[in-house]
Symmetry: C2
Subunit: 216 residues, 2 copies
């Protein structure tokens, strides 16, 4: 029994290494340009061995997405445990997290069109569960922020949610980083500022809510 558990540990470590490589390559080149040969080479094992762990390129990508979503969910739930932070502040923190992950080159990106891949993801329990949980949190914060007067109530929560999610694949940070004129922190601040400001009510941006002061 101990031997089995040990083997399982080794297996787990190796698969973590694989997923990390896939994550990096997905962030770097995207799904279509990432080849299984590259993954195998980077991990340092033969391609056939790789296929013993993950039966297809799609499951490989799905595993990376699951890992990302679980990281995201962990962050979201951490924010949920901060009662002194406003709903808007939590949304801002999550948006910032997405931008930081992306700018750090850790954001795996999948083609929006590949429906076969999307089907594989939708069939993955762990992926969908994490996605649902995270979306639920964000959805509640959005509604709360709207009643707080921090987000314009004219926008359907769906629109706000997608706007936040879209920061994960916003090309602006990458362009600015490629220009080598600004620091990563500066870039994140600007893009985050533009994004959040766009969601706020038009006429009464900095009005304090009854009790809470000094946000932003």
């Amino acid at each position: 029994m101990a031997k089995l558990s040990f083997k399982e540990q080794i297996l787990r470590v190796r698969e973590d290494a694989i997923i990390a490589s896939v994550n990096r390559l997905l962030a770097d080149k995207g799904y279509d340009l990432m080849t299984v040969d590259e993954v195998a080479a980077e991990v340092g094992i033969a391609k056939a061995s790789l296929y013993k762990h993950f039966p297809s390129k799609e499951t490989l990508a799905a595993a990376a997405m699951v890992r990302l979503l679980q990281r995201a969910l962990a962050f979201v739930e951490q924010q949920a445990g901060l009662p002194e932070l406003s709903a808007f502040g939590k949304l801002r923190a999550v948006t910032r997290w997405l931008l930081e992950i992306q700018l750090a080159g850790e954001m795996p990106t999948l083609p929006a069109q590949n429906s076969s891949l999307r089907a594989a993801l939708m069939a993955d329990r762990k992926y969908m569960d994490a996605l649902m949980l995270a979306s639920d949190h964000l959805g509640h914060w959005i509604v709360q922020a709207q009643t707080d007067g921090d987000i314009d109530p004219q926008f359907p929560p769906e629109v706000v949610l997608y706007t936040v999610f879209a920061r994960a694949c916003d090309p602006v940070p990458g362009f600015l980083k490629a220009g080598e004129k600004f620091s990563d922190e500066q870039i994140v601040d600007w893009v985050l500022s533009i994004c959040m400001r766009g969601l706020q009510p038009a006429k009464a941006q900095n009005n304090a809510r009854p009790g809470k002061t000094l946000r932003d």
Copy 2:
């Protein structure tokens, strides 16, 4: 002479048809998933014939991008001829145009990572010329809008320019359209509103320009 010109016309019409198909397919599936076979099939000619017109898949994509950029430049220059419209209004019009083109499925998209493809584009005079001209116009409007108090001067013009450009590949409109809950006009209005509002100064959003008082 007349015969040659006639032949040239036919050639031109055929190549326009090819580029239109490429444009549609690029908008639909993206560069990597678009195959030359598909293009040939959609145009209704053999693949070998296609290669007589365009020597590679890359030049095919480049031609579609040139066409798009020239359409964009035409729109930009049309806006430039409207003296009664503010610089901010022109930027808004261009941003709206990008969103409409994208939502209409006419926005060809290239992978941001494929450097070989990017090199081919950078080597194309017509592409670069149109890009430069359009960027110049937008750049001037951005600076003007900042002195007008319509765009927050804390943002470098570069940041504003990329934020506008990025609407061309914003995934939010597509997500909302897929939900089938909102009209295209409604979607464009929301996304445009969020984008432009994000660029405006934080504290004095709806102040008319001529005499700006209102807090700061």
